[in-house]
Symmetry: C2
Subunit: 203 residues, 2 copies
């Protein structure tokens, strides 16, 4: 059986380079392309048609999940996996919805990552147990679409008037949504609500 062809996308050159070197030590893995941004990752993937795309979650342009979403239709045979520093529950959820087959934190060893790449390439899934537990504990977002949208706008510290304008809603409506969102999250005010929603990955 020929080597697994891997695409590596991470904006941190230090990590990407080092990782490429380490994965190259594995006989059955071959890094066929590298990218530093989301759009670049997409382009490289379409050009080199790798078996597995290892994507950093946070990249300039498009994030890892967005790239995975595009690849799902653009290159359906390519398995995607996400590597990330910050393991927020919401990210995992978004990733799984995008058809990502592997989700690991950067705290794993290169050895372990290599194993997981093989696992994913074989058609299986792998999710870091700790992140999975967090995600399950966090549960689903109780927020409605509008509540989340308004909360998102409030995250920048904008006053109600500005949120209302941007969302094309009346001020009263905005306040109602913020109020109900905060109450659903058990927060004392909108800002604590933003913080909580962020932690759980709901915004």
């Amino acid at each position: 059986m020929s080597a697994v062809r891997v695409l590596l996308a991470d904006d941190e050159h230090l990590i990407r380079g080092a990782l490429a070197a380490l994965l190259a030590l594995e006989d059955d893995l071959e890094v066929v392309a590298e990218a530093a941004t989301g759009p670049e990752a997409l382009a490289m993937a379409l050009q080199h048609r790798p078996d597995v795309a290892v994507l950093d979650l946070q990249m300039p342009g498009l994030d890892g999940v967005a790239v995975a979403t595009s690849l799902r239709t653009g290159l359906p045979d390519c398995k995607t996996m996400i590597v990330t520093s910050h393991g927020l529950p919401g990210h995992l959820k978004r990733a799984l919805e995008a058809g990502v087959r592997g989700f690991v934190p950067k705290t794993v060893s290169a050895q372990r990552l290599a194993e997981i790449i093989r696992t994913v390439c074989a058609g299986n899934r792998y999710v870091d147990p700790e992140l999975a537990a967090d995600a399950i504990a966090a549960g689903d977002s109780p927020l409605t679409a509008r509540e989340a949208e308004v909360l998102e706008l409030a995250a920048h510290g904008a006053p109600v008037a500005e949120i209302a304008e941007r969302a094309a809603l009346s001020r009263g409506t905005v306040r109602n949504y913020l109020s109900s969102a905060a109450s659903k999250l058990g927060a004392e005010n909108r800002h604590a609500a933003v913080r909580l929603a962020r932690e759980r990955g709901w915004v």
Copy 2:
């Protein structure tokens, strides 16, 4: 001349391992110790007495700058440098005050990092030009000690009453400080102020 003895501290195993492997390829560099947390980095440094300590900025326990501060007195001959993903101006400032001799983003290549380690070990300093420019552009904090302290407490979304209690101030005073802080930062309200201060590394 014998090889430069390097301590590597980063909580992300993937990066630390990969980096150690790459630096080992350089004839004149030798990784003598690795650590995944701040306290561990400190202990390993005192035990192995490296020439250069390469510290990740964000680590559990103690962050890179805190470790550098301790090393300055505990192991004065050890040169320290910081490697980071997020290059906030304030971090650089804090680092330089802590006697750090090198400050680089993780977007550099391993090759480049090796060069910088040599530079630092030779007694010179190195600061990433782009981060330096940002830091200069951001300038010094216009906030007084108390303003910064109160803003810090406000960052968690706490209401004035709670901030007042925690800072042992009257509510009115807290509001005055928040108001003046926001006005100095050109922010419309305390939350936008928190955001701005965060971006510039002033809290």
